[in-house]
């Protein structure tokens, strides 16, 4: 593997593998709670944070983290005001985030190559510092989900029943949305802001086609995401393509293959 001789590719693969674990884990809950649009909202909030970092001359990922966590809390607070229209809170925060991002970018006059790498993802842009932050964030996300697995499953399946069982649903909803925000910040360097939400959703959609339990849905979606990331990074290296685009297109190809195979098998059985 010639490409792995390069430090930047080693970093890209470490980052990619971390993404292929945390995105589907969080994505499984996001999809089953019918909050698929939240990925777009929080990624646009993180774009505003990156622009703020460029404007204030501090490490952009800190800006992304602060803005996306703030947006996550905003979505949860607004969700209570629109209990019958949960998606409305997501749309409101999405609009505010895009507006803020555009303002910050124009104020910082920062529509440059660095910003483009955040938007579309980049292999060479992943630094050692990014890897340390991504690894720390990923460990925190994985441990949190392992510890709160049964509570998060219950809330995703039946929020009212979970509340009656004594689960602190309000606190856990905020905590879960913060985990989603952290996942997006961790993934944005490689996949790109514009495509992160696909990484949360598409591998899970493929997995739901074939999985026979909640646990297997999560495990299979990690496998699909891993395949898409490893193949996507390899293709983007050899063909000089944006990694985010390659990874997301491959995820969709995997989804279509799963749907096609399932239909073919069902047809043969019937």
């Amino acid at each position: 593997m010639e490409m792995l001789q390069y430090d930047f590719m080693q970093r890209a693969f470490v980052a990619g593998i971390l993404i292929s674990i945390i995105c589907p884990i969080i994505g499984t809950f996001v999809v089953l709670r019918r909050l698929s649009m939240i990925g777009d909202t929080l990624s646009h909030a993180s774009l505003a944070g990156i622009a703020a970092g460029m404007l204030g001359n501090f490490y952009p990922l800190w800006g992304a983290m602060i803005f996306s966590v703030a947006a996550a809390i905003g979505v949860e607070k607004l969700r209570k005001n629109f209990s019958q229209y949960a998606e409305l809170s997501i749309s409101i925060v999405l609009s505010a985030s895009i507006g803020l991002a555009v303002l910050m970018i124009s104020l910082a006059d920062s529509f440059n190559a660095d910003l483009m790498s955040f938007l579309f993802g980049s292999i060479i842009a992943v630094t050692g510092r990014d890897i340390i932050i991504m690894a720390g964030t990923s460990i925190f996300i994985i441990v949190s989900v392992l510890l709160l697995y049964k509570e998060l499953l219950y809330i995703a399946f039946d929020e009212e029943g979970a509340a009656l069982a004594g689960i602190p649903t309000e606190t856990l909803n905020i905590f879960f949305t913060v985990l989603t925000a952290l996942t997006i910040v961790a993934a944005m360097r490689v996949v790109g802001i514009l495509m992160i939400s696909s990484m949360l959703v598409v591998p899970v959609a493929a997995s739901m086609q074939i999985s026979k339990s909640f646990k297997s849905t999560m495990i299979n979606s990690v496998i699909f995401a891993f395949l898409a990331v490893v193949l996507g990074l390899t293709i983007s290296y050899y063909f000089n393509l944006a990694p985010g685009g390659a990874i997301v297109v491959l995820s969709v190809v995997i989804l279509l293959l799963v749907i096609g195979t399932k239909k073919y098998i069902l047809k043969r059985i019937v």
Partner: protein, 247 residues
């Protein structure tokens, strides 16, 4: 004289400026098999949700097992099956066992681990409701009656002393309904679980129930045992012909 395990006193509840419950009071005793009946919009589900802490009244007090509801923590002692229990996302990829296990929270607590004894308890309640053979099946692939049994098992896994059910037979066929009432009778008489259900199907339930509470004009009125149907026609404003399923 037994003391009530649940006591709701002088409950007032408004919805969009309209009074739904007006000084309604209710006492539930251990061993009761109670039906709460009344016309649509009379506040049956609201009263049940207030008794389980899912809604807060404008005025009035609720005591659960001798404790004020605001200080009550032992939620595992109360089981609740909502009106739309079987109208969940049918594509949710969870097995029957995973759904029942989810309600082990009251036994294991926040971030607690599920052990062998807990799994045995899950299997025990699935066996009790006749769904053990379906434990690895996806919940969305079961019939309405089977799903209802899984939700009962889910409620039972925390070993509740009282089971609240909101229109539990909605959307299930006549045979499943008959099995359902047989199961309720067993839970009440053999497992000593107090049962409270909101229902329109007073005819089917009347053979088993010990108390009937009618909600009308915001107040709760107690009737005699289930076979005494006098007054129902007046309450509903038209002739009520109970249907007893004996097939």
């Amino acid at each position: 004289m037994k003391s009530p395990i649940i006591e709701a006193k002088n409950i007032n509840f408004d919805y969009e400026g309209r009074s739904i419950l007006n000084d309604a009071s209710l006492e539930i005793y251990p061993g009761d098999f109670m039906a709460i009946i009344g016309p649509n919009g009379s506040g049956k589900s609201t009263l049940m949700k207030i008794c389980t802490g899912l809604m807060k009244p404008r005025q009035g007090s609720v005591t659960l097992f001798g404790k004020d509801i605001n200080k009550f923590k032992e939620w595992g002692r109360i089981g609740y099956i909502p009106q739309k229990a079987t109208s969940f996302n049918q594509g949710f990829p969870a097995t029957v066992e995973e759904v029942v296990k989810a309600n082990l929270y009251s036994r294991v607590g926040l971030m607690g681990r599920v052990n062998k004894q807990h799994i045995e308890k899950v299997q025990e309640v699935l066996d009790l409701v006749g769904m053990l053979d379906f434990k690895d099946r996806l919940i969305g692939r079961l019939s309405g009656g089977q799903q209802q049994r899984v939700f009962i098992a889910k409620a039972l896994v925390s070993s509740p002393e009282i089971l609240f059910m909101d229109e539990p037979t909605t959307g299930i066929d006549a045979n499943s309904e008959k099995d359902f009432y047989a199961l309720m009778d067993d839970l009440n008489k053999e497992q000593n679980i107090t049962i409270v259900m909101v229902t329109h199907d007073i005819g089917a339930v009347s053979k088993n129930i010990s108390r009937v509470i009618c909600l009308s004009r915001g107040k709760a009125h107690e009737h005699g045992c289930g076979v005494d149907m006098a007054g129902l026609n007046e309450l509903y404003g038209h002739d009520v012909a109970p249907l007893i399923h004996n097939h």
